[in-house]
């Protein structure tokens, strides 16, 4: 499944870039983070419980930055392993500086394997949209937070 979109942040590009590269901020952006380990500046691991209404989906998520051109482009490979669901995702962010605000184009290719992926295919797209919306709102909040500092 491919999802993509554009979001404008009321903050300079450098701030948005900083937030996207700050593990502590990202831990607050991702849904249901219970623990967040930083291995180095390219590799992070999160233990999450994604809230899905009927119950949380527990997953160990390994993230690796596979490409970056500071401060405008980053690409991450994300592998999640949970019981009944394996997540494989590649996501990229394109940041444009619009003089004080920052336009972020993002795209993600999401693959969910395992029984949850099969059973949930009817609702996967809306759920992914929902999660994306929440992540972006949280990101917005973190950017605003960073602005204040």
């Amino acid at each position: 499944m491919n999802v993509n979109g554009e979001r404008t942040f009321d903050a300079p590009r450098d701030t948005v870039w900083r937030v996207l590269n700050d593990p502590a901020a990202m831990a607050k952006v991702m849904p249901g983070v219970e623990a967040f380990d930083v291995h180095d500046d390219r590799k992070w691991t999160a233990h999450v419980k994604i809230p899905l209404g009927l119950g949380g989906l527990k997953m160990k998520v390994d993230m690796e930055k596979v490409e970056e051109r500071e401060p405008e482009f980053a690409k991450m490979a994300i592998k999640g392993a949970g019981v009944g669901a394996m997540l494989n995702m590649e996501t990229s962010f394109d940041l444009a500086d619009n003089g004080g605000t920052c336009a972020m184009k993002w795209a993600a290719e999401v693959k969910i394997a395992g029984p949850v992926g099969s059973m949930g295919q009817r609702v996967l797209q809306p759920i992914v949209n929902q999660q994306v919306e929440q992540v972006l709102s949280a990101l917005d909040a973190q950017v605003q937070e960073a602005q204040k500092q």
Binding site: M86, K111, A113, P115, S118
Partner: protein, 803 residues
């Protein structure tokens, strides 16, 4: 007083009567014994860790956390399997025959749901809990989902041992294609037809309880596998053991439809764990497991089809390229590459035919026999061709059929590839079906539907069943194979108190074998059906089976009942021989069986009841002549009259009988939504002599319901990554009571000249309902139907095409 099943009058023939089923008393009371009902002290429950990926390397497996849990008895991994067993025997030669198939994934997974590790624990729940703690690290590989891309150079390759995804290919050509196309007034071209992937989803899934006897080295396998003979020849060599060490026991089976033939990999896992853990091991496959991994029907494409026709609709010949999607493993395949050839020209007098058949592997569940196995795909093709030709030539599909059907006066009819259609009058059957459906008033009904805003469509499906495979056809796939013919066994004996006991080699799943076998025995022994005790189920220790024993391929009424007939006739002869000796040298032809015993025709008072016969032979036999040669325990092996097919010409009789089905469906389509109802349905079958018409009709109705489900809803659909999108009955919609139309049935009885009872065997049909619905949709929408699966959204697309 409650109603009691009517007693069958002694001395009256019941062949052809709907005798109440012997099985029903236990099954209506919940007293059947299905595999999950079998329990043993100390047994462990097995749960499979299954692959979440369609295609991936297995980098590592760690079972330590699972094994640490209290109540977990142990695990089994692919690595252990590879050390303890040999790969399963492959039916194919190279390249498909080079693949190495083990009972758990070794090094790589090739479809979502493939068993990777087995965990055994004290409770079902715990086994599943522990399986969640097994850590498998996968390195995902690109998945191959579309068979049409399997042979592309850049396609991911499933089996390195085979070198590519090609599993088997063969060219079948009979007659003179060039002449046929030269003679043709017109060549009808059909770029692509697609027969979709589904199966019969028996309500009971697979399962086993396996006990290992350390002292004798023997496994007792309680299972619902429907073809233990096949399972044994797969399992024995793989497990490096003699077949007598594998005892298969079955009582009741909750539906099979071919889908329970290839559970041998799971049975091997159970056997290995029963030995490893020294305790009984129980495995129940749940619905999702079944959908993910068990016996999908063959998905098939027919490409670049060309049909040589005369303007009057006379069919001269066709050529097509069949591409068969086997899924990830060849569990019974590539037999699907030849089974269709039993019905090469369908019901028609096509004399010039070429089929280029290719079978490939994909990252989907392995295919295996499914009701109508491989023939159904081909017959769908021939029926689609007829209706597309009729549309192109603007002829009535009824007329095109009648013009080309094999005629009653041509019976027995030898097809271009040497199959011999035994008997039948297809045109007559079609007339009966059209009559049932009210063909003459169809124009009024069309108008009536139109007035209600609906579009009415009518479609015909004409198909053949196959009762009794000639296993020699496997040699057309692989000339090295040493299989041919067929056989089935029955044992009939008189016990010490004169009880008539029948043992079958079959593994029935609802076909009423206990009843029909008793009817045949009663007929010959001239006794009541109620006096015949047919053992329920199958046990290989009963020694009443042969190499091809089992319940599959619509063959019981031929192979099973012929064996019963043979054994009973042996017993009847022995009873007379014994009585002759007891009566002091009366010849057999002066004796008759009647009233539960044997008597002298001319002086009926000289009567020896069966009880006396049984007692004399079993317990009171001093003084009998030395050369009497009577045991009253008669085992008979029925062997159908087959020759080994000519491998070079791909020529020979591939099955003994060809029961026929002609079905007509009437649909009403909502043109706004594509939603449609099957509003009327008629099924006319000819399976030769019907032993028990009610059972025959039940099979017809059941096969029809499955066909209608497949035509409208049922599909094993995968996304591009190889995830199964219909893993349960929520998304895989099977027909319910409200979904079924009124089913009208009719019949013709054309006894087979080739079988001892005139029976043909039946039960599978040829998927006539699918073909009839496709034709009806084509009629209603005016668009050419090119796929066997036409859910509402597909019909809406067809409507859009013609809008």
């Amino acid at each position: 007083m409650t109603t009691v099943a009517p007693q069958v009058e002694i001395g009256r023939s019941t062949l052809g009567e709907s005798v109440p089923r012997k099985e029903d008393r236990r099954l209506t009371q919940g007293q059947g014994v299905f595999v999950d009902d079998v329990k043993r002290h100390g047994m462990g429950y097995l749960h499979f860790v299954r692959s979440p990926y369609a295609h991936a390397h297995i980098a590592s497996i760690d079972v330590s956390r699972a094994e640490e849990i209290k109540g977990v008895y142990g695990t089994l991994t692919g690595e252990e399997v590879a050390a303890l067993t040999d790969p399963f025997f492959q039916i194919a030669g190279a390249p498909g025959g080079q693949i190495k198939d083990f009972s758990l994934a070794v090094g790589k997974v090739r479809y979502v749901g493939e068993p990777v590790v087995a965990v055994v624990a004290e409770t079902r729940e715990l086994a599943r809990d522990a399986s969640e703690l097994v850590e498998v690290e996968y390195e995902p590989l690109p998945a191959l989902v579309d068979a049409r891309k399997a042979l592309d150079p850049e396609a991911p390759v499933l089996h390195d041992d085979a070198g590519a995804n090609l599993m088997w290919e063969g060219v079948y050509e009979w007659g003179d294609l060039d002449a046929a196309f030269a003679e043709a007034d017109r060549v009808v071209r059909i770029p692509e037809l697609h027969f979709h992937r589904f199966n019969s989803t028996p309500l009971e899934c697979d399962g086993a309880l396996v006990e290992y006897n350390r002292g004798t080295g023997q496994w007792t396998i309680h299972t619902n596998n429907q073809f233990p003979g096949f399972a044994a020849i797969m399992m024995g060599p793989a497990m490096r053991t003699g077949l007598d060490k594998l005892r298969f026991v079955t009582q009741d089976i909750g539906g099979g439809f071919g889908n329970k033939i290839t559970s041998h990999p799971q049975l091997v896992v159970c056997c290995l764990l029963a030995r490893k853990l020294n305790r009984p091991v129980q495995w129940t496959e749940w619905r999702t497991d079944f959908h993910l991994s068990m016996s999908h029907g063959n998905e098939r494409w027919f490409r670049e089809t060309e049909v040589a026709v005369k303007d009057d609709g006379t069919l001269l010949g066709f050529r097509t390229k069949a591409l068969d999607d086997a899924g990830a493993w060849l569990r019974y395949e590539p037999l699907g590459g030849v089974i269709w050839a039993q019905v090469t020209p369908g019901m028609y007098r096509w004399r010039n035919i070429r089929v280029d058949f290719t079978q490939v592997a994909t990252n989907k569940a392995p295919v295996s026999p499914n009701r109508g196995y491989s023939r159904m795909q081909h017959l769908w093709f021939t029926e689609r061709v007829i209706d597309i030709v009729a549309r192109e030539l603007q002829l009535d599909p009824v007329e095109v059929r009648k013009r080309n059907y094999v005629r009653v006066e041509d019976m027995p009819y030898e097809t271009p590839n040497g199959c011999v259609y035994d008997s039948g009058d297809y045109a007559q059957m079609l007339d009966i079906a059209l009559d049932l459906i009210g063909w003459d008033s169809m124009n009024d009904r069309r108008a009536d539907a139109a007035a209600r805003g609906k579009r009415l469509g009518v479609g015909i499906g004409s198909t053949l069943d196959s009762g009794t495979n000639n296993f020699g056809q496997s040699r057309l796939i692989n000339p090295e194979l040493q299989f041919s013919g067929n056989n089935e066994v029955a044992t009939v004996k008189l016990d010490i108190f004169g009880e008539i006991v029948v043992t079958l080699g079959t593994t029935p799943q609802g076909q009423g074998h206990e009843t029909t076998a008793a009817q045949v025995v009663a007929e010959i022994l001239n006794c009541s059906v109620d006096d015949v005790h047919v053992r329920a189920g199958h046990d290989s220790y009963w020694n009443s089976h042969a190499g091809f024993s089992g319940t599959y391929a619509s063959q019981f009424a031929v192979t099973g009942l012929s064996a019963v007939k043979g054994a009973t006739e042996m017993l009847a002869a022995e009873i007379k021989k014994l009585a002759g000796a007891v009566f002091g040298g009366v010849p057999a032809d002066a004796l008759e069986l009647a009233d539960g015993g044997v008597r002298i025709k001319e002086s009926p008072d000289a009567f020896l009841p069966f009880m006396a016969c049984g007692a004399i032979i079993n317990a009171n036999n001093a003084g009998l002549p030395d050369d009497l040669g009577v045991t009253l325990n008669c085992r008979y092996v029925y062997r159908p009259p087959f020759q080994v097919p000519d491998v070079e010409r791909k020529f020979g009789n591939l099955t003994l009988t060809y029961a026929a089905q002609i079905h007509v469906a009437v649909v009403e389509v909502d043109p706004e939504t594509g939603y449609y109802d099957i509003v009327d349905y008629a099924a006319v079958d000819d399976c030769g002599k019907r032993i028990n018409p009610q059972i025959v009709e039940g099979q017809v109705m059941g096969a029809t319901a499955q066909a209608l489900g497949a035509a409208v809803h049922e599909v094993f659909s995968y996304d591009e990554d190889g995830n199964l999108l219909t893993p349960n009955f929520y998304d895989y919609h099977v027909p319910h009571a409200l979904d079924m139309p009124r089913l009208q049935t009719g019949y013709v009885e054309s006894p087979s000249p080739f079988t001892p009872l005139g029976t043909k065997g039946m039960g599978e049909g040829g998927g006539a309902g699918i073909h009839a619905v496709c034709a009806a949709i084509q009629d209603a929408t005016g668009a050419v139907v090119t796929t066997s699966h036409n859910p509402y959204h597909r019909v809406w697309e067809l409507l859009e095409e013609t809008a």
